[in-house]
């Protein structure tokens, strides 16, 4: 361990939230410290208290309902928890600054980006003309092209990655000693994520600032940090040098968390598509264009967006086909068009040789029974008014012949057990379950009709790592039992490696590459696939 004095020390910090529902002890006796110039990763799942403890550093906790019940946060010999407003003003943004998870909402939508960068300096008594010159320089440093021209643009005119760059420019404007980064790359696409990490590392090398990096992604922590703190349920369960902790975790929870993370070095599942089998589902030349918006007189504003261009592929029975791509690549449009949740402009989707696009009414309903979907956000996809029994049984109201009315209750209970929930929980409402359990309910609903193809649209993206691993295990197990085919849409390449049989890579509405998983991963043919895989493996230097 380094002998230098810590830059920031959190000592025995406890935070509780008092709400009508009772008191939640969000952070319990947490201690950690970061050295000057060091990068410390704080790792944990949602609800672990990792963000709460670091928000306290800049006094950003909403109080009430939050209340700090014990502890100190020492910055030098100053306790940051006892500052008055004017002392606080000398710390925030000047000595310690912060960037947030969602770059789309961290900038004020009503102000130009230039003014928001300038403001970070003028509030600390930098004269306006100097601040403007430096703001321009900062925007160039963080890689905003044509910074001078874009100075007066508004946040909505920038992409997510660019907005995070602007946030970084604001954070480093006063040359802080410490940057607190709260999940700064979690909302970004993989390639963008790698760029932002590299940018942070470059700035750190130049300025020598320390970084406290809060993340749920163990692989990011592995690449980026030299020290690590693992939190669970508000407490620190393990801390130490990153390489040491990740290689030999002592704590049970830490071991499980690290084990659940997709390992970039894990073997790729080997799959050879058997030749000559008839596909369960055949998609041919599926296209969808979203027309440009029209103004009052019907004139087009902007251009049409081709969300899906001539997509063609097959899904064999009992096969897991993963569709990967970044946001806006047309993955979700593909899923919706395939299920006819949205009308495609042209192309065909055949289930067992019957063209879905030519069917109507009852005939369509019969085919649809074989195709179900699980959405990304189980909170939004389960009706809050219904009990789980209503939710799981609802498909049988449409397809009455699957399960006779008298046996529905029992069948629903069996489904609950199948997805790893308890029979008696069937009387509860969705909000009484955790996120992972809700996704299990959504899966139970999808399975109610004994489908042959389940489309999972980012079905595990919103879940914590350990929960994600459980849901993937569940899907694998169900597939084995029921002979399901899965069309699995995801932006998470690490997950695809171990889970997929076939991989489809999409970009700007087009399928750029398709093949068996090991072929795509080990010998990608398309340059885009190559760059995507490279950013997965690219280490931050």
């Amino acid at each position: 361990m380094n002998a230098a004095a810590p830059l920031l020390r959190v000592e025995n910090l406890s935070v509780e939230f008092r709400t009508a529902a009772g008191i939640t002890r969000a952070v319990r006796n947490v201690s950690w410290s970061v050295l000057p110039g060091q990068t410390l990763a704080i790792i944990g799942e949602s609800g672990s208290g990792k963000s709460v403890s670091s928000s306290a550093i800049l006094s950003l906790l909403p109080m009430p309902p939050a209340r700090i019940t014990s502890g100190r946060i020492l910055f030098g010999d100053m306790d940051l928890l006892t500052l008055d407003a004017s002392q606080r003003h000398d710390i925030n943004g000047k000595r310690i600054s912060m960037i947030f998870q969602d770059p789309l909402s961290s900038l004020n939508p009503l102000r130009t980006v230039g003014s928001q960068v300038v403001e970070a300096m003028t509030t600390h008594e930098v004269p306006r003309d100097q601040a403007q010159a430096r703001a321009l320089d900062l925007l160039e440093q963080v890689g905003i092209p044509n910074a001078a021209l874009r100075f007066r643009d508004y946040p909505h005119q920038f992409s997510g990655g660019q907005r995070q760059r602007i946030m970084i420019a604001i954070a480093i404007a006063m040359g802080p000693d410490l940057l607190v980064a709260d999940e700064p790359t979690s909302a970004l696409d993989l390639t963008v994520q790698a760029d932002i990490l590299q940018l942070l590392r470059d700035i750190q090398k130049r300025t020598g600032m320390a970084i406290v990096f809060i993340t749920h992604d163990i692989n990011v922590a592995r690449q980026f940090s030299s020290a690590i703190v693992i939190m669970n349920k508000g407490a620190v369960v393990e801390a130490g040098a990153t390489a040491e902790v990740l290689a030999r975790p002592q704590d049970d929870y830490a071991r499980r968390l690290i084990g659940a993370a997709p390992d970039p070095a894990a073997p790729i599942s080997a799959y050879r598509r058997p030749p000559g089998r008839a596909p369960l589902c055949r998609v041919a030349n599926l296209s969808k264009t979203y027309p440009a918006r029209r103004d009052f007189l019907g004139r087009r504003k902007g251009t049409d967006t081709a969300a899906l261009k001539n997509a063609s592929f097959d899904i064999l029975p009992d096969e897991v086909v993963c569709v990967v791509g970044e946001s806006g690549s047309g993955k979700s449009t593909l899923a919706r068009a395939l299920l006819r949740l949205e009308a495609a402009d042209s192309g065909t989707v055949e289930m067992d040789g019957r063209n879905l696009m030519a069917l109507d009414g009852d005939a369509l309903r019969r085919v649809r029974r074989d195709m179900q979907i699980v959405f990304q956000d189980p909170t939004a996809s389960l009706s809050p008014h219904l009990t789980v029994e209503d939710i799981v049984c609802e498909p049988w109201n449409v397809h009455g012949d699957v399960v006779p009315a008298a046996e529905r209750r029992a069948a629903a209970e069996r489904l609950m057990e199948l997805v790893g929930l308890r029979r008696e929980q069937i009387a509860l409402h969705a909000h009484q379950f955790s996120g992972g359990q809700r996704q299990r309910i959504a899966i139970a609903r999808a399975l109610a009709l004994k489908p042959r193809l389940v489309v999972c649209d980012e079905a595990v993206s919103a879940l914590d790592v350990s929960v994600r691993a459980q849901i993937l295990d569940l899907l694998t197990e169900l597939r084995r039992q029921m002979g399901l085919s899965l069309l699995f849409i995801t932006h998470d390449l690490g997950l695809v490696r171990a889970f997929a049989n076939r991989v489809i890579v999409m970009r700007r509405g087009e399928i750029v590459e398709e093949g068996d998983v090991q072929d795509v991963f080990l010998a990608p043919r398309h340059p885009y696939t190559q760059s995507l895989l490279a950013s997965l493996e690219r280490l931050v230097e």
Binding site: L60, R88, G93, L110, A120, T123, H156
Partner: protein, 305 residues
């Protein structure tokens, strides 16, 4: 921006045309006004003659045609009751109503901004709870009750204010106060809700993380965002008053548009009714256009694509 304004006018004109057509035909469903304007003992012949002169015997479609022809010349016809051009009668009443709205709405808006924001700063605090109850009450109290209680207390018992009329500044105090209540109640709730949302948003935390002092966060970042949802509600409330603060004008004896509209309906003074509707509709349309313009100026997301 010019295109925006032109579009606004075209769509506003269309709404106005539909409105005027509806009013024209619905008004004539109430019956023939001749009886109201001739002496009780007038002969049938006289009645028929007057109806003929005024065109009440023509088929409704023909009357509508004449109305449109007059309208195209900018002529809204004569008021039966006042025997003057209808538009002049409306023009006389307009200042009273505009003054009522022009005083009540800004007062309500400013008070609502203050009360709603203060409530949102400490949700669930004492101020918030008292303000919440009071504004809900203000939004739900009936106008006529408030007006009568106001007269009773301040004019009859305390004798501080006059009961009715428009002679002095003091005459305006009670009517405006009564008109402030409902918009204030509704707007304060709107401001509180939108302010609560804004204060918990990421860009407010980011502004605090920058080291901005609290007043700068509030004025520079929170308030402009919180005002956006409020603007349209302000316009609707203003429209409510422009449309005739009927009860307040009647109770306080103020010669405004609301009272005029009521009279024109009771006396089947069709030309006057049409004139009142057209003028108030234009006033409301202008208010809405101003609100749109204001929104476009505040929120850059509306004007860019």
């Amino acid at each position: 921006m010019l295109k925006f304004v032109v579009m606004r006018f075209l769509s506003g004109g269309l709404s106005l045309a539909i409105l005027v057509t509806l009013i024209f035909f619905f008004a004539r469903l109430t019956g023939n006004p001749t009886d109201l304007y001739v002496p009780m003992d007038a002969s049938e012949a006289v009645r028929a003659q007057i109806a003929e002169q005024r065109g009440f015997n023509d088929p409704v479609v023909v009357q509508f045609g004449n109305f449109l022809a007059d309208l195209a010349r900018g002529d809204l016809g004569q008021s039966l009751r006042y025997a003057r051009p209808a538009i002049d009668v409306v023009a006389d009443a307009m200042p009273t109503t505009l003054t009522l709205a022009g005083l009540a709405i800004p007062i309500a808006t400013v008070l609502a901004l203050v009360i709603g924001s203060l409530g949102a700063l400490h949700p669930g605090g004492i101020f918030d709870r008292i303000a919440g109850g009071a504004t809900l009450g203000a939004a739900s109290l009936p106008d006529f009750w408030l007006a009568i209680i106001g007269i009773l207390v301040f004019a009859v018992v305390l004798r501080w204010l006059p009961t009715s009329g428009t002679g002095t500044a003091l005459h305006w105090v009670l009517p405006v106060a009564v008109l402030v209540f409902r918009p204030l109640g509704i707007l304060a709730q709107v401001v509180r809700t939108s302010m609560l949302g804004v204060l918990s948003s990421d860009y407010i935390r980011a502004a605090e993380a920058k080291g901005l002092r609290w007043p700068a966060v509030l004025v520079g970042h929170a308030l402009p965002n919180a005002v956006i949802p409020m603007i349209m509600v302000v316009v609707y409330q203003a429209a409510g008053i422009l449309n005739g603060a009927v009860i307040v004008e009647v109770v306080f004896g103020m010669p405004g548009v609301g009272r005029l509209m009521l009279d024109s309906i009771m006396f089947r003074d069709f030309n006057l009714l049409q004139a009142v509707v057209i003028v108030t509709a234009i006033a409301i349309f202008i208010a809405a256009a101003v609100a749109d313009l204001l929104l476009a100026l505040i929120d850059p997301r509306l004007t860019h694509d």
